[in-house]
Every structure is written in structure tokens, then in C-alpha cells.
Amino acid sequence: MNILYDERVDGALPDVDKNELLLALRTRLPDLEILHQQEELKPYECDGLSAYRTTPLLVVLPRHLDEVQGILRVCHELQVPVVARGAGTGLSGGALPLDKGVLLVMARFNNILHIDSAARTARVQPGVRNLAISQAAAPFGLYYAPDPSSQIACSIGGNVAENAGGVHCLKYGLTVHNVLKVDILTVEGEYLSLGSNALDSPGFDLLALFTGSEGLLGVITEVTVKLLPKPQTAKVLLAAFDSVEKAGRAVGDIIAAGIIPGGLEMMDNLAIRAAEDFIHAGYPVDAQAILLCELDGVEADVHDDCDRVRQVLLQAGAIEVRQARDEAERVRFWAGRKNAFPAVGRLSPDYYCMDGTIPRRELPGVLQAIAQLSEQYGLRVANVFHAGDGNMHPLILFDANQPGELDRAEALGGKILELCVKVGGSITGEHGVGREKINQMCAQFNSDELTVFHSIKAAFDPGGLLNPGKNIPTLHRCAEFGAMHVHAGQLPFPELERF
């Protein structure tokens, strides 16, 4: 089954006359920048998941909200699918274009409209970068908590669309916990405000529904986020273990001691060595697993908690526990973790990053099963794990130039995600379903549940013009995916290309 939009299983898309659309947009929106030549469209053919590429029909780069509204109205009239895109850093192909659709780039809406320090809020345009919000809030001693690893580049509109996470979610929550209000344009070009400047709003919690809806229900035009006072201090402990099981148990022990760390990360030996080679963070390269535990808050509490956590780690069998001596060392400890993906990328021509979540107690079993799968498929897997919140990022190493390796990597990835579902977890913790995990959705949800998802879509976009093919698979696709599983190894339609 081709992962790119396949009208046979994903639903027919309206045929669009490119010239008619171009003419309509130019007539109605004379100042709108439109890209339509093949060479101009090329840079937009993928997002952060570069293995999947489709050239969009057109790219539009509006500068004013009136233009966004105009684009949506024209596209609605002419029945043209619209895919919204922020900074294009998403890892699940959520902004993968359609060759029969317009790619709506919101990156130029990059103004911070207002920081209200007394109310602890920031009102920003959707193209504002995640990190830019914290930078703008810093003079007031405030910051925006969710910090996906792409925070230097990713935009807040995309963060809301994907319900982005980061390394501090256990204590500070996901995007959905840190957003007060989102303004959107509907598929018909109507403005709607979801949430409010107060802590709740009347009616259904549409703000929660829209957060993470991957651009299928509306286009985000403005976001009001909550800001938090910066913790007075943050300290990091690094603990080394001679087995991943012990490291996994130590995580549960820290929580059982009543401590919620600001960040709690685990890396396995392959990831440790890769990171150390790349960053020279001072990681113990012989350890089978390390835990990075960040404690933040008021000085006195953090000091006490560091002592407590150190005791817990030693009792859990850590062979070494180190506390970063100063801010420089703390940053270096984190740099190893935050660069784990590119570090692993140096070990292998390509890698494929997974995003499953599991109940933490299942970690030893799941890691063991991943090791077996890794052997079975003949591909190495490095494990990086947001241990505090159960979000795993197995990195599958492969070489796309070797025939069959990408297929094997994808198949192995799919198995890992199905394993996560089997132990009570989810196929995606923070990267989103997008196009990438569209088939695994069939493993996590049954047809009754998918039908309800489709009815949600119908309430906001009955024509299915917003980001079709993402997030929720058609029942037809799932039926075919299920059939593939039944005949494992003997795929139907062998003539079809499989990316």
C-alpha cells in the first residue's frame, strides 16, 4: 500500500483545473504570492518527514488574514483541497502536500502580538517560532513550557495542530495544557474563537478538540498561550546503569518517592555512544542505559530533591550518579540528549524515528521485544525515551540506497507501534499520525471509533477539503491494511510501489 495519497483507498479527490484556480486566486487576491512553477514548488514537496514527497498543485504564501480567508473561500467554492503548513518541521508528514491541493503556508504570520506579563499570556500569530515566545517572555521572568526538540524552528500553529510535546511534559503538560485560546478560520472562511482569555469558556471544549487535530478541522490564525514563571533553578543528575531494566525500575522509584522531575530521559547504549561521539557530553559509554533527571523549582526544594533522587537511584542499582556541577555541565548533559537524533544519524546513512507511548511498567518487555525485532529485520535500533511520560523514540538505522532496507525499516517501525498498542499504549505520543502512521491507526482504533472520528470531521468540514488523507484512515484503507496483515509476507497488489 502506497503511503502517498491513494484515491483508491483514501477517497477520490475533486479534479482541479489549475489554471482556473490560479485565475480565481489572482482575480480575488491580487497581492497574494502564489508559487506555481515546478521549480518553485519543489522546496515544499515534504515536511520534516522527507522520505515522503508530493509536489503540491500550488503554494500560497499569504501575508494578511484577509488573504487566508480569501484563499479558503476560493478553494471552498472550487472544491480544492487545502493543506496548511507552518515551519514544515513535523515528523509525521502532517503537512505533506497533495498534487490536487493547495499548500497554504502560514509561516509569514510571525508576529508576537502582545505579551501580558500580569496575566501571564502571550498572543501570537501562528507562524511564530516556539522558542521565540520564550525569548520574548524572558525579560518578564516568564516562559512558554512545551519545548519540542525542534523548538528553534517549529511554529506555534504547527504545535497546536499536532499537540506538540517535549522533554518536560510530565510536569508541565503538552501543548493542550498550555494554550488558552485559538482563533481559526473554518473551511468556509468563517472566523471562530475557541477557548478564551479566561481559564474556561461556555459550551463544548472545542479548544481541546482542535488541539492535535492536524489541520483537518480548521486553519489556525492566532494563538494565546499561557506563560509560566521561570523556575528559580534547575539541576541535572546523570545516572548510569548496567541494565535497561534497572534504569526503568529507577524511574518508577523516583515517582514512588513523590517526586515529579522537570525532565526524565533515558538512553540505551547505542544512543549513549552515538551522542558521546558527537557531543562529548561526558556520558559513560559502557553503561547499558543512562537516566537524565532534571529537578527544577525553588532552590531549597531542588536541593532536597536532588539528595532524595540520588538515594533512590543508588538504591535502584545505579553504578554511578553524577550531578552537573555547574550550568555549563548541565547544558552539556542535555546537549547529548537533545542531539541524540542527529548523533544516531551519524552512525547510519538514514534513520527512522518512531514515537510510540507505553505504560512505563511495560518498558523492559517492550525493549526486549524491540531487540528481537531488530535482529529479525537485520536493522539496528537505538532507543531514546522520555521515561517520565512513557514516550519512546526508537530510532531505526538503515540505508535507503540498499534495496529493500527502507521497506524493512518501515515494516519494523510498524511492528514496534503495534507492540505499543498491544501493551496499552499509543502509536504516537507527540509527533502526530499525519500520513506516516495512517495505517497503524487501524491497529489502535476499531471501525466504530474511526466512524466517530469521521463524524467529527463531518461536523466541521463535510466536504473533506482540509488536509484529506491525514490523521484518520478511511475504513477502506483499514480493511485493506487488515487484509495485508492476514496474508503476512504475501502482500496484495505486489505491483504497487511501496515507499
Binding site: 496575566a119 478564551s196 507511548t357 512505563r360 511498567r361 512513557g390 505520543g429 467529527i456
Partner: protein
Amino acid sequence: MRGADDVDDSLVLLEQVNQALENATPLRIQGSNSKAFLGRTTAGEILDTRSHRGIVSYDPTELVITARCGTPLTELAEVLDAAQQMLPCEPPSFGDNATVGGMIACGLSGPRRPWSGSVRDFVLGTRVISGQGKLLRLGGEVMKNVAGYDLSRLMAGSYGCLGVITEVSLKVLPKPRQCLSISLEMNSERALLQLAQWGQQPLPISAACHDGERLHLRLEGGEGSVKAAHERLGGQWLEDSYWGDLNEHRLNFFDEDQPLWRLSLPHNTPRLSLPGRQLVDWGGAQRWLKSDAEAAFIRQVVDEVGGHVTCFSHGLCDTPFQPLPPTLLRYHRNLKQQLDPRGIFNPGRLYAEL
């Protein structure tokens, strides 16, 4: 974990919903009915959720508890308490027998809400009987899960208008090591200014209420931070039970005869000039008003500052919840129509049109 009264009665509830679907009979979904005074009065056959009860799973080190809708909130609290954990959003009960299902459906949170998050923020997953008569599993039991639309959190505060919540998984947290309540004498203008200032600093405040004369604060955290904050702020010692009394509307303020209104306001809204008496909660973001003023007048004043109003006195007005702007109402209707096409789930409880 299993209690003596634990029963999985979901199939019986499902059967009742299917009967209702077949006969197009509206249902009035209720637990102990402790929050029946909220929202509009609705007719319909009673769907009593209390038989489906019990804690399904709880592993303190996972920080997740899963309970059936009919489980009493008191049972949930006891089980968490035994493991030194809590549901940080402190949902009020408004009655001895309040249930988990009603708590989610009403989505009300207590004094800690501005600092900890609301009921919906702690929802990880739900099981729901849909308007198609199907038992669905939405969300899950893990902290991070972005697969599909977030229908579990949509269920929180939906007053049962989108389906029957049969089970919920909630994120829980360890109780803070130290808790200390204090009260300071100051007028409400000064208290609101002070709270805005403190809000920008890393102080361990977890509740803040002004009763007209005194500012009541709860400090929670480690020993060091609570001690340091106490030394800095001073004030008189206050019983911790104050917060429960505030949350359950047992303070004298709530006894007066006038109608009760809940005002939800942006942080840092100055004192509002309204007839009657006010009690400031949530550090200023939630205010209780005892007033004989007209609903339209109160709404206008609150609307101007970007807030909204709920009438907490039953039967006083036909739209206890703030009316929605027309476009937003249209999408609410679309959603209701899609999820409850036969209109059997608490029709009219939230708004006459839903």
C-alpha cells in the same frame, strides 16, 4: 484493588441506550444527581450510571487511575490518599455521593485549578457509549497520546450531551510534601494587584481566595519553598479545611438567599463593579457573585472584560450557561447532530438548541 461493590455494568447501560435509540426516547443521564442544579432542566428517561462502578486499575508509579463512571468520588479520593497521591484539580462534589462520571461531565475544578490545570487537563482517556449505540474506547492510559481526535477531553464539561461516559482514566500526582494555609488582611483591589505580581514569580501558591476582607493563600511544595514563602508573606495561620469549605460552597458567603453566579475571567481582571457581594477565587480568574441583578446586566459587564457567566441557582434563567455567538453555536449543533443524531443524550441540558 477490587472493592465489594465493583460491578461492570456497561452492557446494561449500553442496552438501555440502544433501547432509547430504537424508541427515540431522550435520556437523562445521572449519577447521584448532586449537580442536577447546574444547567437547564431536561425531561427524559433516567439513565442511572451508579451501578457501573469500581476502580478498574491504579498503579501509583504510573500516575494513572482508571475508574468506572458510577464510582463515588469519595472512593477515588480514599484510594489515592492511601498512596499519598491526589487528583490535583480538586473537583467539587456538591453532595456526599457524587460520582466520577458526573465529575467529568460537569468538568468543575477546585481552588488549585489555575496552578494545576482543570478536570479536562487530567483526562487521559474515556470509554463512552456513542449516539450510534457503540461502546468506544477513546484516548488511553498514557500521558502522551495524540492519535486521532481528542474526544476524551471533549467529553469533560459536555454535561452528558455527547454520549454516556462509562469509564475514565485520569492522570494523578503525588501530594505535595508540605501544605500551609495563611490569611492576610487587605482589600480586594490590593489583593488582585498583589496576586498578579506574585503570579510572575516562582512562589509555591496553590490556592488564592479573597473574601472581601482577607486574602487567603495556600502554599504547597517542598519544606524549603513553603517555609521561605511563609517567611516572606507572613500572615495568620489558616485551617486547611478552608479550601474544602470554599470548594463545596460551605462558606457563609454561599448561605445568603440571593442567586449565585459564577464569573470566569481573564487573569488580572480588576475588581468588577456589580451589585451584590463577590468572592474572589482562582487568584482572580473565578469569582462568585451573590446578586439580584439581571442576568443580561451581569453578562454584559463580564463580557466586556472577556469573561463569561454561569448561573448556579437552579431554574433562575433559561440559559444558565452564557449564550454562544451564532457561528460557534452552529458548529456546536453540527457536532451534537453528528455525535448524537437521534438527540437522546441530555437534550437541552447545556443549551436549548443542543
